[in-house]
């Protein structure tokens, strides 16, 4: 299957190529051909959530133009994929765009959702002998309604010890611009999250949303807490032969 990768802003520049290369390699191991439409930009979520819908529409239309001929669009972030699902609603007043948006939304997937629900893969042959816990991100759970796939994939990783995160359904306090606009509240929320992560005694926190990971990881590091933060693709890309992914 030919997959058009939407790397997302954070995946493109903030984490450099660390996460993206694992996504590509795992998808290729799953038998996909990965293409990267060079003209891609942002899904428009920062503008959309801040109420700047004119600007969000510009981003959405550009996204549609860039990806509409794809067989499937995959993003390593539930929140950004969820934004694409929002396009038909955002463009409801422009019938031709609305139609194109709907078609695109139907073939846009979050990374683990694509592996499990489309490719029917729950075991990718990964090896990761560490104690991990998983952060359930809000938009992936509540907007994309993707809950099972990442857990299934992690449970099938050889050597892994998986602990459920207490209060897993509670937001980490990222929320895009919320993380800076409402800094004091965001801080309390991420501190709660950090506390629950520490309670699991996990060595690694895994997630499927780079925004959340950037928030939680940044706070863990600031507090000097030694928990590694990884995107789920990075974990799935760890194999027994090398013990680590080529990207690490």
């Amino acid at each position: 299957m030919k997959v058009s990768l939407f790397i997302t802003c954070i995946g493109d520049v903030v984490y450099s190529s660390r996460v993206g290369r694992s996504v590509v390699e795992v998808l290729e191991r799953a038998g996909c051909e990965v293409v990267f439409p060079e003209k891609q930009t942002c899904c428009g979520q920062p503008a959309f959530n801040s109420g700047y819908h004119k600007e969000a529409k510009k981003a959405a239309k550009h996204f549609i133009r860039t990806f509409e001929h794809a067989e499937a669009v995959v993003a390593p972030s539930g929140s950004c994929a969820g934004m694409v699902k929002e396009y038909p609603h955002l463009l409801v007043d422009e019938p031709s765009w609305h139609d194109r948006a709907r078609k695109l939304a139907d073939k846009t997937y979050e990374f683990t959702q694509f592996l499990v629900d489309v490719l029917n893969i729950t075991d990718i042959g990964a090896y990761f002998p560490k104690r991990v816990t998983y952060h359930t991100s809000c938009h992936m759970t509540r907007i994309m309604k993707v809950t099972e796939p990442p857990v299934k994939l992690l449970e099938n990783v050889e050597g892994i010890t998986f602990d459920t995160l207490p209060y897993k359904e509670q937001c980490c306090g990222f929320g895009g611009t919320f993380s800076v606009k409402m800094l004091a509240i965001s801080e309390q929320m991420v501190d709660d999250k950090v506390k629950h992560i520490v309670d699991t005694k996990a060595e690694v926190l895994v997630g499927s949303d780079l925004g959340c990971l950037m928030n939680i990881g940044g706070r863990l590091e600031r507090l000097g807490i030694d928990v590694e933060v990884m995107h789920i693709a990075e974990v799935l890309n760890q194999r027994q032969e090398t013990g680590e992914s080529v990207g690490n």
Partner: protein, 484 residues
Amino acid sequence: MGIKISNDSFFERVDKGIKNDFMRQAVSSAQDRLEGRKSAITEEMGDWEDWRELSEEIRQHTLENLDYYLNQFAENVAKQGGHVHFAETPEEANEYITNVAKQKNAKKILKAKSMVSEEIGMNEALEKAGCEVIESDLGEWILQLDDHDPPSHIVVPALHKNKEQIRETFHVKRGYEDTAEPERLAKFAREQLRTEFMQADIGITGCNFAVAESGAISLVTNEGNARLATTIPKTTIAVMGMERIVPTWEELDVLVTMLCRSAVGQKLTSYITGLTPSPGGEGDGPEDFHVVIIDNGRSKILGTKYQSALQCIRCAACINVCPVYRHVGGHSYGSIYPGPIGAVLTPLLEGYDDHKELPYASSLCAACTDACPVKIPLHELLIEHRKDIVEKEKLGTFTEKVMMQGFGYGTSHPSFFKMGGKQVPFLMNIVAEGKDGGGIGPGPIKLWTEIRNLPNSKGDTFRKWFKKRKGGARDGNRDDQRER
């Protein structure tokens, strides 16, 4: 009291909330308790989603035919000898209520819990007219004794107080000397309030739902105080928001089920009262029965994109799952309606002037939307508010506007976007490595790094890596680190 409960700025209130450890402990344990009970009890309903859809349908149908059902209700109340008064403003409502009190020569008025009575500042109006108003709901009574501390939750108004603080209030205000054991506190309150019940001239209640087909109001309580307030005094006044109505008992059945389970995790509360007038003292109801139906801005919401906010049945399920409410508490919202529904409703009822931060006091995690038993898309309505704030009210900051316009341009012009992307790792590394001497940098990055580090973004951007790889270096990217 009115809707607005504080003159402090939003950020002052939040700061106070975050520093109040007692309150936060009380709120988080209450949230855990209420939410835990709710999930246990909704499971036994079978498909909760089906129930939510049915409830949403009932609320939407009622709102779309609101004038019809309100007229039917008013006619049916009148037929039974009761009185209905439609009040467009708080002043009109209070004038009617104080007039009834004057006619009855009432000195003492006993109140059951009612958010809409808080909304219109009814107690103050009655007190000005020379009446003594006593709150009979335990939580409300505690707050009233504690120098009119505002409610911080719409179902559990004194949620922000723990038992020791309540003991202290009872001790200072009423000479209570016993322990802070909840049973003892409750017994004391019961004794104190019982005397008041016996002396009351008028009982005032809210109204969970009016039933159009029979001209009845319904009251959902656990303490039985609303039943006493409507049976001991000969006169009852019910105040209700104009949207709080159902067509028949059948819909009431569904919504009360949803309300009790969503609000407190109970199948049913201890008392569910249906009340119609009984002039001449023939039946069970009050001899003199008044219903005041309050608009106060609601009719302006009808027919707008915010109409679904009027579906609210005031269960507080959204408040009980909100992570923001958890940390800042109810008073931070500066409104008698806190939490997600408060952040949606308050600016609709009172405008943005005093409340323009509320729609931003959410990470848009959508826990509220998922929890709502009548499917109000709360987080989407918060986004609609943000849209109106920047597009209609022009209240967005200049910097934000410029940034967003740049965003709109950049995201639709890939080469420009790529150029911007290239700057990000550079800027981030300056901040991350502390070369700036502690926090110079664009606004958001400076704020971000006040409490968090930025990830290490050294090395190629993804798109650069991908391009190189296609060029033959399929897994030879170890040089990336050195290249920068």
